[in-house]
Symmetry: C2
Subunit: 131 residues, 2 copies
DNA sequence: CCGGATCCCCTGAGATACTG
DNA sequence: CAGTATCTCAGGGGATCCGG
């Protein structure tokens, strides 16, 4: 990579942005985080098990891990009640809600373009079929 | 999980939306897909190796896999030139660009809230320290 | 009886070497 | 240069056990 700047700009990507992607988007881009955000945004405050059910197909281990990460990032608030049947519930913080809002555009995109994606997948499958 | 609907509403989440999340967002939520989208959006048409360089730290295997998935979903167009030094380049389709635009809100959120996240992480670290 | 921690297994990501 | 094959190993899923 000594003389690669003939056709490329000197600073191809904003390094700060790349750092941002790695440290922020990386953890958040996890699909379980996105699903948890979505569910918590729609349902509000939820208990651990219930949240897991609504997220569909997540294991407790991953649920715990995802929620811990989200808590560490300040996206959810974790409340533990010291009662005999243990009760822990999770709720989005303001930061979490704002991230959910930011993802809104993506949900809308998905809804608007599901047909296009389906078509693209079918076309790709057909193409690779005979290739 | 046979009798889980005692405390739950009949249809807790729009099943169509959940299906959407699983089939569409799942593949797209992959961090490499997001980075590839970002890079291709900024740089336009790129060759395989160059794209890998700009994405920073991705292996060829994952790059190939990510690009194949994106091609299957109609997000990128793959062009193969039958020349002696093989040349393949990738460019966002209209669908891919629209997805990139949808993610714009997320990038903006990340930039706007990086400080808040940093603070939350520090606070969480401090809290878990003595716990 | 719920939240979650731990153990084990297996998929899948990363690095390397090789081919067209 | 673009992509595949192979190996290795971290990380995710499932079951089970523990603390409150």
């Amino acid at each position: 990579m000594k003389h690669n700047d003939r056709t490329a700009p000197a600073v191809p990507l904003d390094p700060a942005l790349e750092q941002l992607v790695r440290e922020l988007i990386g953890p958040v881009a996890d699909k379980w985080t996105m699903v948890a955000l979505e569910v918590l945004e729609q349902e509000g405050r939820l208990r651990f098990t219930r949240l897991g059910e609504l997220m569909g197909g997540i294991s407790q281990k991953m649920l715990t891990k995802t929620l811990r990460q989200m808590e560490a990032d300040g996206l959810v608030e974790r409340t533990v009640y010291a009662v005999v049947p243990p009760k822990v519930d999770y709720e989005l913080t303001a930061l979490g809600r704002s991230l959910g809002a930011a993802f809104c555009g993506v949900w809308e995109w998905a809804e608007a373009n599901r047909a296009a994606i389906g078509a693209a997948r079918a076309a790709f499958a057909a193409r690779t079929q005979r290739a």
